[in-house]
Symmetry: C2
Subunit: 415 residues, 2 copies
């Protein structure tokens, strides 16, 4: 048995016990985890400082270092998040549907845990307790595979969380970390169909594509967002400017930020200069089509097809003037990642056509794409935003970490 | 662009039109398909006879030939099935959940089609119109990849169905067949993530494993069923015999048939001879553990661990005496395929423990595993039985061929 198979078989065994826990036992365990993390914050920060030192020496850039870094406030906020997860409604055991068949069998479709969830992520140590807590709350065992840059932080927090489980007489193998951060061990996890029920990659496009390409275990693809704002000819232009400004600049590094602007030709001449003035406040760099450059001036760089397909995650915006709603929808179909797409229009028929024809997890009329988020959508917490169509689409909360089981009670029925 | 990419891009374009159809238009299309297949039955039978002739020459065995064969009755029954699918409740457009956020946005979670579905199957031509109709009813485009042995039948029926679509002014590329039945084209379909949203393999364990191993497109695994009947010490033994007889012999070739019997040691001596007598009526071959052989006599062949893991799909039964409920559950966990599992018991607590701990799509108390079926579970029709946990579990009907989209209507909200 390889190391990964060993982790897997232990996780599977733990998952069978987790499936029988009641909500109160899970709340107690999560509260104990939160307390433990809080009390051991010095220890966590010491482990994190080892990661930070190594990362600095390896020349990690500033924005990545910020993601890797923990401080007292961040640890306390991690513990608070665990407590919030503890308080959410328990997803397990709900009867989704039930009926009696003509021959008298009682059939119920009941919500049950997935079993063992593998989470593959990058150098963000806050994902470790967050993912572990969401899995525990939904009665799933978790196998964590974090970025090697965060190994000391992850090892420390996983040790603490396992200690908390032990304190509550729960199976410690419900939370496991793959300490071997090599490519090979990741590959093995991705193909460990015998023990792993689902993989959820959390991170950049490269990580996610690698999992999609290599996994034989079912995957929930998350988080790449090449989101568009389409300003229709019947738009309230001032509203359009404010939504674009918010969607592009309020937090450019996240997946629900806008990357591309489409403008109907009839209002392009009026809208583009307004939008440019507002976005100049944040020094947004524009990449425009020829018609946009004619209006805004040639200091705007020309946009290439590759630009239209790029999730910049930065203060950069591609812009294209279109002849019609249809052309806008075609462009989104071609370049979008089916995450979040918005139209600004006062025309009812146009808004209906856009929401019907644009194929994405979230389609907005007159609101910012930035709202695509588990908290905003009322899920309480979120393990990622699914950009695929199977199982879950859009923000995934606790219910998305479950499956169903049919339970049939008969009195001797045969067919 | 390769041939598969061409099919894929056409299917994607068609799927966008399908997504905007109303229920009436789809009913009309399906009715036209049913009429066309019925009227062209001579043409279908002529095509099928070419397949049959080639298969006989290639030495195909009788049971396979029977699956490949169409006759007038079968074509009429195919057309009837299409009409039944037309009559089912339309799954598209349903609002699953909707609310107004504190800042006044209206968020709705709406059921929408998956988009493009790839169906990979074997030499069963009836799957062709059945899968195409279920996909059309759920507003999905379909790419069919049937076994090469059925190519003439499939080509003929797909041509007829596309003709029916054309007659209804619907995009003919909503139904496409991969005529190149090589391994390479199948492989390409399985990795055509750009255009194919989901793959559903329908067939034997070998086909399904090949798709799971090679696909990068999300897969819904279907249909392997190594199903157990566990006779508890508190069982009504006569009921147990009848359920076992039904589950093993009523249709041994299907995935919900029982393959393995587990018997509590306390009632083994009484139960096994009763069961043996009843199953002798159908000449069922037993493979038993040592204790079962002691009771039933050494003419019973010994069961190997491999036998316990085998889906016989035949008049063969493996049998094992267990010391406890716990041992039965462990055995099922080890050898089962998470399809359908049954316990026979009059003990409430035991039944609850079994249904809670056995991890399968359908868990039965005092009823035959043979009921795991879309029709029996009230789904109206079925495209397969999912044995995985993502997206769908158990019988899959029209709703399982859909995903969701969040539609958000605001009045200028920013975050």
């Amino acid at each position: 048995m390889t190391q990964i198979e060993l982790l897997g078989s232990r996780a599977k065994a733990a998952s069978r016990i987790l499936a029988t826990l009641n909500a109160g036992e899970k709340i107690e365990a999560l509260t104990t985890i939160a307390n433990t993390l809080e009390q051991a914050r010095k220890e966590i920060l010491a482990a994190n400082s080892l990661d930070l030192a190594a990362a600095k020496e390896a020349g990690m850039r500033e924005s990545m270092l910020d993601r890797l870094m923990l401080d007292e406030d961040r640890v306390l906020s991690i513990a608070r998040a665990v407590r919030n997860i503890a308080k959410l409604e328990d997803p397990i055991g709900e009867t989704l549907h039930g009926f009696v068949t003509p021959n008298g069998m009682n059939i119920r479709k009941v919500r049950v845990p997935l079993g063992v969830i593998g989470i593959i992520y990058e150098a963000r140590p806050n994902v470790t307790p967050d993912a572990a807590s969401l899995c525990l709350k939904s009665s799933n065992a978790v196998i964590l595979k974090g970025g090697k840059e965060a190994i000391h932080s992850n090892r420390c927090m996983v040790k603490l969380m396992r200690g908390a489980l032990e304190q509550c007489s729960l199976p410690v193998d419900a939370i496991q970390l793959i300490e071997d951060t090599s490519r090979e061990s990741t590959m093995e996890l991705m193909q460990c169909n015998r023990y792993v029920d689902v993989l959820i990659p959390r991170g950049g496009a490269g990580l996610i594509q690698s999992v999609v390409q290599n996994a034989t275990v079912p995957v929930i693809e998350t988080g790449t967002g090449n989101c568009h704002i389409y300003i229709d000819k019947d738009a309230d232009l001032a509203m359009g400017v404010e939504i674009l400004y918010n969607a592009k600049t309020s937090r450019p590094s996240v997946c629900n930020a806008a990357e591309s602007l489409l403008i109907h030709r009839d209002i392009a001449r009026e809208f583009l200069p307004m939008a440019k003035r507002r976005l100049d406040e944040k020094h947004v760099k524009w990449l425009g089509c020829e018609r946009a450059r004619e209006i805004l001036g040639k200091e705007i760089a020309p946009a290439t097809p590759e630009d239209y397909g790029t999730e910049f995650l930065d203060y950069i915006l591609s812009a294209k003037v279109v002849d019609s709603l249809e052309e806008a929808i075609d462009h989104i179909t071609k370049y979008g990642t089916q995450h979040s797409e918005a139209i600004i229009t006062e025309n009812l028929r146009t808004s209906e056509e856009f929401t019907a024809k644009v194929d994405a997890a979230a389609v907005y009329v007159n609101a910012s794409t930035r709202f695509t988020d588990g908290g905003e959508f009322g899920l309480g917490a979120e393990i990622g935003i699914s950009t695929q169509k199977l199982h879950a689409r859009g923000p995934m909360g606790l219910k998305e970490l479950t499956t169903v089981k049919y339970i049939i009670n008969g009195q001797g029925q045969v067919r």
